[in-house]
Every structure is written in structure tokens, then in C-alpha cells.
């Protein structure tokens, strides 16, 4: 287990390194010196040269690359071109919106998907089991930002129950309004996410229902529900956990889009603003931190999977 974790950790670091290289290549080697973005249109050659010296973009690429890696290793993401403030500070401020949004949506999606997914599998031959499968099929195809707009239309504009968007300026110091402004975004992501999770839960449960060990447990005198609870769920959890990492990452990305629907000041709007303003340090910072979060999630999911299933630990890898 320890060997596996170490191996997995090496892969994690390697992945992060490759991601950093890809980012560097895409952002630096493509046309346009970031110095131009720093000084803006109509700058004199001297101003551009000064900006290049300040950014180090007049250095050879190999040296730039080493500086970049060194900065990353020290968690130094630089300063924004536009606001001149620290990118890392800005990201941690933004994450205080995006992370709660992602985690709350994810937990709600699980709360919906697990019971309904199991029900859809156990009662696959009943009309409501079939109905649940159809609903999840439909949910998977619903564009998340469209659902957001429809929910705003119904709950904010028609029923006037919840704010249509925005986040209180004072943030969580104003807890009532902060939570209110999170309700619709969380619902939006959770509904779409639960649909695809439900499909995995249903498939995993169906697999277990047809398994030999469950039949043996029944033959040994356990009730159908008892056998499913004691032996089935843990086995069904293994393949589900392996997709949870991917699903959590997808939730995070969904949050990036949904933030835009509800004009929440999270990572998504930071990235979009960065792209519009050609604010390279901000773009790079958001992408690095997002990739790190996505990779970490995959890492944790793999470890959790092995904790749940001793059979996987015996494999050669």
C-alpha cells in the first residue's frame, strides 16, 4: 500500500510537471510577447523593453523556463499585470467561493445519486426504476448553464424567492446573503451532476446484483436487502469511487461555467477576466491551481479505491 502510494505520488508530481510544461509552451511560445499586454497599445519601444526586462521575457527561453519552474516550486505565482496584486492571494480569495460551491454541489449530487441509483438498479423491472433511468439519461444531456438560466427564470424572476446572481461584497461576513446567493448555483450543478453519477451507481449496483458472491450470501440465508447492504454496497462502491475523482473535477469545471451564469466572483470569472485582459500571470495561476486540484482529486480517489478494495492492493502495480 505504501509502495503504491509512493508510486502514485511520483505520477502526481510528474503529471503536474507535464502540465506546467504544457502551460509554459502554450502561453510563451505562441505569438505575442506578454510584455505587450503589460504596457498596452501605443507603448514606445523603450517602454516595451523595460517591461520585457521586468518580466524577464528578454531572457533566453531555457532560462525563462527554469525561473518559471523555480517560482512554481516556491508557490510564487507572480503578480497580476492589471491589478499588480499577488496572483496567489487573488486565487485564495476566489477559491473561497469556488470550493464551497463545488463541494456543496458534489455532496448534494451524491445524496441524490446514491439512493436513486441503487433504487433504479434494484427495481430495474418496475416502472419507477425505469423512470429513474430515463430521468438520469435526460439529466446528462441538459446543458448546465441552460439549467441555471431556467432556474433563475423560475425562482428569481417569477417566484422572487432567491437572488438571480451576485455575491455579497462583504463575503461570508454577511452569511445570510452569502448562503442565499449560493442556493441556485449549487442546485444547478448538483442536478446535472447527480444525473451522471446516478448512471454509474446504477451500473455498479446492477453488476453486483448479478454477482456470484451475492447469490452465495443469499444461499447462506441472508435476506436480499441484508446481503446487498453487507456485501453488495462495498463492492459497488469501488467502480463508483474511481469515477468520483473525474466527476469532482467535472463539478469544479461546471462551477467555472455556472459562476458566469450567476456572476459569482470565483475562479471561473478570474480566468475569463484574465483571458479578456491578456493578464498572463492570472491565467497561468488559475490553470495551474485548477490542474493541481484536479490531479489531487484523482490521486485521492485512487487511494480511496484501494482502501475499499483489498483485491486491488494485491495487483502487481
Amino acid at each position: 500500500m505504501v509502495r503504491y502510494m509512493l508510486r502514485r505520488l511520483v505520477i502526481l508530481l510528474l503529471s503536474l510537471f507535464i502540465a506546467a510544461v504544457v502551460l509554459f509552451v502554450l502561453l510563451r511560445l505562441l505569438p505575442g510577447d506578454p510584455a505587450n499586454a503589460l504596457v498596452g497599445v501605443g507603448a514606445t519601444p523603450e517602454q516595451i523593453a523595460a517591461a520585457q526586462a521586468q518580466l524577464g521575457s528578454d531572457q533566453p527561453l531555457s532560462l525563462q523556463f527554469l525561473t518559471y519552474l523555480g517560482d512554481l516550486a516556491r508557490f510564487d505565482l507572480g503578480n497580476s499585470f492589471v491589478s499588480r496584486s499577488s496572483v496567489l492571494d487573488e486565487i485564495s480569495r476566489r477559491l473561497s467561493v469556488t470550493l464551497p460551491l463545488t463541494l456543496a454541489s458534489f455532496v448534494l449530487a451524491l445524496v441524490i445519486a446514491i439512493p436513486f441509483g441503487i433504487l433504479a438498479a434494484v427495481k430495474a423491472d418496475r416502472w419507477y426504476g425505469l423512470l429513474l433511468s430515463v430521468i438520469s439519461q435526460i439529466g446528462i444531456a441538459v446543458p448546465v448553464f441552460w439549467l441555471g438560466i431556467l432556474l433563475v427564470y423560475e425562482f428569481s424572476l417569477n417566484l422572487r424567492l432567491l437572488p438571480s446572481g451576485g455575491f455579497p461584497l462583504r463575503g461570508y461576513a454577511d452569511p445570510g446573503r452569502a448562503i442565499e446567493s449560493m442556493v441556485l448555483p449549487v442546485l444547478t450543478i448538483a442536478i446535472v451532476m447527480s444525473a451522471s453519477l446516478m448512471r454509474y451507481v446504477r451500473a455498479a449496483t446492477l453488476e453486483v446484483l448479478g454477482s456470484d458472491f451475492l447469490r452465495t450470501a443469499r444461499a447462506l440465508g441472508e435476506s436480499h436487502t441484508g446481503a446487498l447492504m453487507r456485501h453488495g454496497l462495498r463492492n459497488a462502491a469501488v467502480p463508483v469511487v474511481s469515477v468520483l475523482g473525474i466527476e469532482l473535477s467535472t463539478t469544479f469545471l461546471g462551477a467555472v461555467v455556472v459562476e458566469q451564469v450567476f456572476s459569482l466572483p470565483g475562479m471561473g470569472s478570474m480566468l475569463l477576466l484574465g483571458i479578456q485582459q491578456r493578464d498572463y500571470p492570472n491565467i497561468q495561476g488559475v490553470l495551474i491551481v485548477s490542474t493541481l486540484l484536479v490531479l489531487l482529486t484523482g490521486f485521492l480517489a485512487d487511494i480511496l479505491q484501494r482502501v475499499l478494495d483489498p483485491r486491488l492492493r494485491k495487483e502487481a502495480r
Binding site: L30, Q137, I149, V257, T291
Partner: protein, 282 residues
């Protein structure tokens, strides 16, 4: 537990029903997209209609806040969604199938390296890659979006191709072909491709749905094709501000997107039931 003999016909019938429903949905949108090349009710830039009109005989889907016909935009949106889907899946398939087959044929070391590389790139989410490519290019365009999405999809295709190819390579008839002196190129063409295409096709259909959805997200975020193109995502972005006075403007593009994606998914499910003997026999 029901026996196979009773389960089989109902299952096949259901598979056929989903296949046909999917075909109708996708077919309708393909028709709208193709017809948009020859005919649309109005010109895209025609602002003759009233502002935010409700659907009527003159404007089947109503008008937007500039008085442009929404049905025209929906038809052109169908065209764009299909172009993006085909383009992105095409690029993703070419890169993915080539690298996937290469990995399956390669030495142990290169194979491991490529497999790890696919896994890492898959962890890099498609939408972020697309945003990155758009950020790196000076101007957002339809081509940029297609290229970005195609690159984003390629590792997924690559991983599946690698696994499928390895399965085929383990078969006895490949050994027989090798022994009888068939070249690797001929083996890929005559044995590998025909065997992996059915499974790959189903998966590519699902990727098509993902690409269409991702393009709509990009356009919604303002990173897709620039204004003369009426992408469904951009229509949604424009209609969001007037959703209270003109809800149909926000409902219809989303419905079109939904219909295309669910249609593709149903079609893929139906195809899988036809191609996959293991699933067909229950």
C-alpha cells in the same frame, strides 16, 4: 431472475426504440443545419422584426432584442454545432487513433510512457485546454474552438484505441498473419481498424455530444466563434439578460442543444446494442 430467452426480445425492442428516437432527433437537427446552407426564413442580419417578439407565423421562434429572427439563428446554430462536433471529433480521432495504435504496437517503455501521457492529459479537462488554446491565440474563431476541442478529446480516443488494439493484437489470427509475412501496415488496415471501428464509433458518438456541449459552453462564456456566427451557446448568453420578458429566446437554443446531445447519446446506445454481441445476448 428472468431467463435470457424472455429478456432478449424486449431488450432488443427497447434498443431499437432508443436508436430510432435518437435518429429522429439527430436527423431533424442535421436537416435544419443542411437546409440552412440553402435557405433560412430571414437573413441572419435582417433586423426587420420587432424587438423580442413572441413566436408567431412570421417568426416561428420569435425575435431577439435586435429584431432578428430566432428560427434563422437556431438553424445556423445547428449548422455550427454539427461543424464543431464533426471537426473536433475528426481531429480527436485522427490524433487519438494514430497515437493509440502506436502505443499498442510500441515497445513496453514507449507504451507505458504514452499510456501515462494519455492519463495525464485526460486529467487536464477538455474545457480548460480549449480555454487555454483560445487564450493563447490572438482572436477567438470557430477554427480555434474546433482545434482546441479536438486536441482536448484526442487523449480520450487515444486511451480507448490503445486498449482496443491490444485486445485485437492478442488474437491468434494476428499471429497467423504475422507468421504468413503480412506487414504491420497491412495488419493495421485489414485486421485492426475493422475490428476496433464499431466500438470506437460508439465512443466517438459520445465524444461528439461532449464536443457540442463544450463548444456551447465556450460560446456562452464568450470564447467561441465571434458574432456573425449564431452558436446556440452565444444565443443563450444573449437571451439571458432578457429571459424575464422573452423566455422563449433562452428556452429554445437550450432545447435544441439538449435534443442534439440526447439524440446522439440514444443513437450511441442503440448502436452499442447492435454491435456489441456480449450486450446483445444479455
Amino acid at each position: 431472475m428472468s431467463t435470457a430467452s424472455t429478456a432478449l426480445p424486449s431488450r432488443r425492442r427497447r434498443g431499437n426504440a432508443t436508436f430510432w428516437l435518437g435518429l429522429i432527433l439527430v436527423g431533424g437537427i442535421v436537416l435544419a443545419g443542411v437546409v440552412s446552407f440553402f435557405w433560412t426564413p430571414y437573413a441572419l442580419s435582417d433586423m426587420a422584426g420587432g424587438r423580442l417578439e413572441a413566436p408567431s407565423a412570421a417568426h416561428w421562434a420569435g425575435t431577439d432584442r435586435l429584431g432578428r429572427d430566432l428560427f434563422t439563428q437556431l438553424m445556423i446554430g445547428a449548422r455550427i454545432a454539427l461543424i464543431v462536433g464533426c471537426g473536433a471529433v475528426g481531429i480527436g480521432a485522427v490524433i487519438g487513433v494514430a497515437t493509440g495504435i502506436l502505443a499498442a504496437f510500441a515497445t513496453r517503455f514507449l507504451d507505458d510512457a504514452l499510456a501515462a501521457f494519455f492519463d495525464i492529459l485526460i486529467a487536464f479537462p477538455t474545457l480548460l485546454i480549449a480555454m487555454l488554446v483560445v487564450a493563447a491565440r490572438e482572436e477567438a474563431s470557430l477554427g480555434t474552438a474546433i482545434l482546441a476541442l479536438g486536441i482536448g478529446l484526442s487523449p480520450i480516443v487515444g486511451r480507448i484505441t490503445r486498449i482496443l488494439t491490444k485486445q485485437v493484437l492478442g488474437q491468434d489470427y494476428i499471429t497467423a498473419a504475422r507468421v504468413s509475412g503480412t506487414s504491420w501496415g497491412a495488419i493495421v488496415y485489414w485486421h485492426i481498424l475493422p475490428n476496433i471501428v464499431p466500438f470506437l464509433g460508439v465512443n466517438l458518438a459520445l465524444q461528439f455530444g461532449l464536443a457540442v456541449m463544450a463548444e456551447a459552453s465556450l460560446s456562452y462564456l464568450g470564447l467561441g466563434a465571434p458574432p456573425p456566427n449564431a452558436s446556440w451557446g452565444r444565443m443563450l448568453q444573449e437571451a439571458q439578460g432578457t429571459v424575464y420578458t422573452a423566455p422563449w429566446g433562452a428556452i429554445l437554443p437550450g432545447l435544441a442543444l439538449f435534443a442534439l446531445v440526447i439524440g446522439i447519446n440514444l443513437l450511441a446506445d442503440g448502436l452499442r446494442d447492435r454491435f456489441d454481441p456480449a450486450r446483445r445476448d444479455g
